[in-house]
């Protein structure tokens, strides 16, 4: 019975009450209008008839009245002729009602019918008229049919309004119970989510209904949250794992050096190894901090105009010997003078990272190509290689922190490179597109509004 206190139910009840009042008024109005109309019509007919009969010659009046009454199969007509003393001369009216004066307008009177005893005296609209011979002519018409109408209207009201009212109340109750149940269910599920079950979702049907839409919105939010939290948890594990490996190595080296070293040289060697391990852990921490730094910074104020062609040549210059050592043909094609607004150091880092990756993952005798070109959408910075490329399955994973493809498990690296590139690209409002293999192809697309026209620089 809790629903009675619910807001929904209160509204439904108020609505039902209002509806009832409105319908009653409407029906009442209709009833009175019809009643008025019918009475006015009867009155008019009575007046016409009384005028008609009054003009009938007295010798034919009785016969005419009898004919008139005989034709009335429904028995709604009343007529009578009384002498001056009030005795009935003809017609179906037993007595002349005292309150009915001759010459007055049509009014409601009680009339007793002939052959029906005193019991049946019905309310009738009637008029009396003095005839030339001193008799009184009475014409009446039963207006019980208006009563009939009122009964019908009343019945209709009862038949229509009462169920409607009850239906409204029931609907209100049902709605409030339903809403309450859903709130209860949502509450239950939210409690489960709060308790840590992030896979729980709010119930929702595929219909365009506010509650369902709200649930869908909340579910969308939960999806995002779940992904983020899982990613974070994954990152936490990855960091821990990636840090533990070199630290464990460093610890082992130090321990063994301490126990087994017989000379200063051996001890130094152990220390050097340990330092290398610690340095690797530190470089992971540094890379993570740097990533967070770039992701959180709003640096556009420090942006300047960056000549991409010069930058590509710098990166090429830097990596050419490395590629050569590995037997990889590194080439650059950046002839057009294209500039963008951005942070030179960060963009250089991004491109260097891409080239670094490309050279790292391309087998001997392969090729890495650096290109700068003008596409439809803007300036395209492209790094292609003949390495294994990135498969469709790995596509999203490569942007995950610490992700390292199974193919390259044994290649050294921290596994944050593409994250960094992605963060830098995002900071600039550029787009990073990783095409799927075979052959690696990564593009940074700088939309045109970011382009600084070369002539602006002159």
């Amino acid at each position: 019975m809790q629903f009675i206190r619910s807001n929904t139910f209160h509204w439904a009840a108020a609505l039902a009450g209002l509806f009832a009042i409105f319908v009653t008024i409407l029906f009442g109005f209709i009833y009175f209008k019809i009643d008025d109309y019918l009475i006015a019509r009867s009155d008019q007919m009575i007046t016409t008839q009384v005028n008609f009969f009054a003009r009938v010659p007295p010798d034919r009046l009785i016969g005419a009245l009898d004919d008139y009454l005989r034709q009335d199969s429904r028995g709604v007509h009343f007529a009578g002729v009384f002498d001056a003393k009030g005795d009935r001369l003809a017609g179906n009216v037993a007595r002349r009602p005292a309150e009915l004066e001759t010459g007055a307008a049509v009014k409601s009177v009680r009339i007793t019918q002939v052959d029906s005893g005193d019991a049946d005296n019905s309310l009738v609209r009637a008029v009396a008229r003095s005839l030339d011979d001193g008799n009184v002519l009475l014409i009446g018409r039963n207006v019980d049919e208006t009563r009939e109408i009122s009964r019908v209207v009343g019945a209709a009201l009862a038949l229509g309004l009462l169920p409607a009212f009850c239906f409204l109340l029931l609907a209100g109750a049902w709605l409030s119970v339903r809403a309450q149940r859903r709130v209860e269910e949502v509450n239950l599920r939210v409690q489960r989510i709060v308790a840590g079950d992030l896979r729980e979702r709010l119930p929702h049907r595929n219909i365009d209904e506010p509650f369902s839409r709200l649930a869908a919105i909340v579910n969308g939010m939960l999806d995002e949250l779940e992904t983020t939290i899982n990613a974070l948890a994954g990152v936490g594990n990855d960091i821990a794992h990636d840090l533990r490996t070199p630290l464990t190595r460093a610890r082992l080296t130090l321990e063994r050096g301490r126990t087994n070293a017989t000379s200063l040289e051996q001890l130094q060697e152990a220390a050097d190894k340990a330092i290398a391990g610690i340095d690797q852990s530190l470089s992971i921490v540094t890379a993570l901090l740097r990533l967070a730094e770039i992701e959180n910074s709003r640096r556009s104020s420090a942006f300047g105009s960056v000549a991409l062609d010069e930058m590509l040549h710098e990166v090429f210059d830097m990596y050419e010997p490395i590629a050569e050592d590995k037997g990889i043909a590194l080439s650059v094609s950046a002839s057009s003078r294209l500039r963008v607004r951005g942070d030179r150091d960060l963009l250089l880092e991004a491109v260097a990272n891409l080239v670094d990756n490309a050279i790292k993952f391309t087998p001997e005798n392969g090729a890495v190509r650096l290109e700068l070109l003008r596409g439809e959408e803007g300036i395209i910075l492209r790094v292609t290689d003949t390495g294994p490329g990135i498969s469709d399955q790995e596509h999203d994973a490569v942007l995950r922190r610490f992700y390292r493809s199974d193919k390259i498990r044994n290649t050294p690296g921290v596994g944050l490179g593409l994250n960094l590139v992605s963060a830098i690209v995002k900071l600039h409002g550029f787009r990073l597109i990783i095409h799927s293999g075979p052959g690696g192809r990564v593009e940074i697309i700088c939309p045109d509004e970011q382009t600084v026209r070369a002539q602006d620089q002159c």
Binding site: Q268, A271, D279, L282, R290, E293, I294, D317, V414
Partner: protein, 254 residues
């Protein structure tokens, strides 16, 4: 707490290994370095290392006191932490610069923010080092600050037999002509201007290639390998020395 934890992350290179190279102790004699750093342990490590290298180290753990000492003692170089009690490190440098004190300053910071470095340098710092760092790196940078190459009008650089013509862009060792690519020339020029100094990989990346980050691949080593191969021909006494775990030194062949 986090700050003090990260401060303790100063990587102390075993001094024995680092001391393995002679770095002109004579020139360091009586060279006064003022260290303003509030973490005792870090300061202790740095001071010990610098003392080992023949520097005279004055230590202050407070910004205001540090500023006073900088004015009184007139040190040859300063190492200033960014976050200090009393007065912020950058403010210390700024006040000194306002008084026309041109002492070279190395700024230390646990903050890695990208803009931080720029701010540190703009406020009058001469170099910037982010914690954690290797002590060798710090010493190398201090020595570089103390011995900044004078702006010479000379068009030829000479270290021992090695000669670099800055106009012709040519190099020779004794009679032997050395063919250098532009980037190799740039690297060698930088090293020749700072001969007998330890140059760390980070310093070379920053100064020669203008890289503000440390790339995954050992870029510097590969480039250095090329240059060394050309400079130190077969039979020559090596001039470019690789100091393990630290960096490189160019020295005149004995």
């Amino acid at each position: 707490m986090a700050l003090s934890a990260s401060r303790r992350m100063v990587v102390a290179e075993p001094s024995q290994a680092a001391r393995g190279y002679p770095c002109g102790n004579r020139t360091n004699l009586m060279t006064k370095v003022l260290l303003i750093e509030d973490d005792d342990e870090t300061a202790g490590e740095i001071a010990a290392e610098l003392t080992d290298r023949g520097f005279e180290v004055e230590w202050s753990s407070n910004g205001l006191e540090g500023l006073a000492k900088a004015r009184d003692l007139k040190p040859d170089a300063m190492i200033v932490d960014r976050l200090l009690p009393g007065m912020d490190g950058l403010t210390v440098i700024e006040s000194l610069r306002k008084d026309q004190v041109r002492t070279p300053v190395l700024v230390l910071s646990a903050l890695g923010a990208i803009d931080d470095r720029v701010r540190g340098l703009r406020m009058g710092g001469d170099d910037y080092l982010t914690k954690p760092f290797a002590v060798v790196e710090l010493v190398a940078r201090i020595e570089a600050l103390l011995r900044r190459p004078a702006e010479t009008r000379e068009t030829t650089l000479r270290v021992g037999q090695l000669e670099l013509d800055l106009i012709e862009r040519t190099a020779r060792r004794g009679d032997r002509k050395i063919d250098l690519l532009p980037r190799e020339f740039r690297l060698l020029e930088y090293m020749m201007r700072r001969s007998d100094q330890l140059l760390t990989r980070a310093m070379l990346l920053e100064e020669v290639w203008n890289y503000k980050f440390v790339p995954a691949t050992n870029l510097v080593d590969v480039h250095m390998g090329r240059v060394r191969h050309k400079v130190d021909g077969p039979g020559d006494t090596p001039m470019i020395h690789n100091i393990r775990g630290a960096g490189f030194i160019l020295r005149a062949a004995a």
